[in-house]
Symmetry: none
Subunit: 199 residues, 4 copies
């Protein structure tokens, strides 16, 4: 592939990702992507075969990117397992802040069904290894409840971060809008981390 082609491809991808994340698969029009990317529509088909193909590529790409980020940061900055839960929760919160498209794409994919999700199968799942080590240590030192298995523990932490970002619109209206201020977010992280340590 030529250099020019590579650039065109990149351009399409990044534009499409933004739009798919924003409006979902059915809400995004191929024409709109082409226009926004200032690229000829036909190129999309030349490089990705179809709209679905492009969506898949976008999905896989954000997923991989976030995965890489996760692998690189998760549990890396833990100098004290005393506050493991807080560090982890903060990292997941930051992750969603940094890659908002990740959650949206994943949500669309979950809603649309297996079709797209299947593509993500092979990518993940090794990320937790390092964290698990810290978790065990923390548990042994009494910083995390004994009768909780790792899967449950990390699940609840991810759930908090996920829920915070995915239901912002409704939560700010029904539960508390303070949650989504800068201070409120900080307070939430600290309190939630305490709770999620289970001790």
């Amino acid at each position: 592939m030529q250099e020019r082609a590579k650039k065109t491809r990149e351009l399409i991808m990044s534009t499409a990702l933004a739009m798919f994340a924003e409006k979902g698969f059915h809400g995004t029009k191929v024409d709109a992507i082409a226009t926004a990317a200032k690229v000829n529509k036909q190129r999309i088909y030349a490089y990705f075969g179809s709209k679905s193909g492009l969506f898949e590529q976008c999905l896989v790409t954000v997923f991989a990117e976030v995965n890489r980020f996760e692998r690189e940061t998760l549990g890396l900055n833990i100098d004290n397992i005393f506050c493991l839960s807080e560090v982890l929760l903060r990292e997941y919160m930051d992750l969603h802040d940094k890659y908002p498209q990740f959650q949206r794409m994943l949500t669309w994919a979950n809603l649309e069904g297996t079709e797209f999700v299947d593509k993500l199968l092979d990518i993940k799942s090794e990320n937790f290894k390092k964290v698990r080590v810290f978790f065990v240590a923390a548990q042994q030192n009494g910083f995390v409840r004994q009768d909780i298995i790792f899967e449950t523990y990390i699940f609840n932490i991810m759930a908090a971060a996920w829920f915070y970002h995915s239901n912002r619109l409704t939560l700010s209206r029904t539960l508390s809008d303070k949650l989504f201020t800068v201070d409120g977010r900080e307070q939430f992280i600290r309190e939630a981390a305490n709770q999620l340590s289970g001790i």
Copy 2:
């Protein structure tokens, strides 16, 4: 409105709700709704004005229904505040099991933006009163950590139930598929509840 019309309206609503929940706003076609409901397409416009209007009605309806259910059950069966977290988590888990369309509709709405969410403004928010009473009692009796405020507490419980249902597809592949078996679900509830009690 005549009896016949009422029935037609109902029929449209329930059919549309199922389809919107399944495929989202853009993924659902008016023709498909009419066909599935065995109703003349025009009736949809006569009763709901537009596809958007119908979606809104569906959204408001599930929301209200779930809200009513929530109000009636939340914290009602608590005979022992010792296990408050478990009771609450279980109730939220059951709620999502019973009204799967609720989460999906809300998710679509959150993705689509404020437009639809605004309709839900006035409905909710008094539901937590009763629960808060139990929470305070539990906290005073040492069953829940002292330094957690109610909003954070309930947030994390709702988050767990939400995350469990919304990310089933991806979680079962990346974290653990045992989570979604009958036994796994039960175990998860117990463990997660312990963790979420924060003690």
Copy 3:
């Protein structure tokens, strides 16, 4: 037909006439007529059979009404055949001012083709008798050119009045907008009448 029915019928007719005149056959919707007349749509079909039937009735009605008006006024106020052309032109100008729907309906009918125009066949054509008498007198007295036959004479007078009203929009922009002021109209009538006398 009951009194109530008669009223409903009248109401439909007058409403429909106004709307047909304004927007033409295809531009007017049956629903709109029913709504505007505050009448149940079905009544239109009960009384007029179809949208076309209603249009026809409207057409025939204005036509007859204007015809009656024409018969009653045309050439009646002529106390001096010296100014026959001016009187006639003024009468036609006034007619169009008084019954603007007449011209519009006739125009729509002419555009739509014979279909509707056929209904008007039998109504007219005796109106000119009286005028013809005045014309002959005026011609004999040298107030109107000798070598013009009546048909041509009256044609040109009607044409002036017609053109003035039908092409108002374009004429005011391309020829002169003064024509359509109060003073301009008056001046036009006098001058045009002079010209149309042919002497």
Copy 4:
């Protein structure tokens, strides 16, 4: 624009013009235009944006074409200002014969309201200059009445030609059907011209 596209555009325009002239804006269906032009419906939207846009283009186009024709022929063949009125009337009559769509389009536009007519604003109005010169000469030589201004004079001539063509259907039935035979037309032109000279 490529050659092929140009052809497609032309094809749409000419077909649409014929149909709009025949059946008006609301009476003409986009599908019908596409079918008649043997062109893909979508092309209409690609080139004209909307049905209204297409109508406007048609309107502007006939108007411009007729305008050009008018500019080129009006008063050009006058070798003797003695019969100025006849020459002019005949030219307008011929114009309507040659461009029947012109009158119909203009009539539809006048009926539909300012919306479309506004597009025609800038096109016309210089055409009368040459004719005015002849008019003045004719008036000075006593071939046209002294007390008539040019606007009124040309108005009545245009009115006659216009009325003849626009009300053919009704006039042939109510006034005289001889008017619309070949001989009748000729006789009408001569007589009407005499009358319209005003002397």
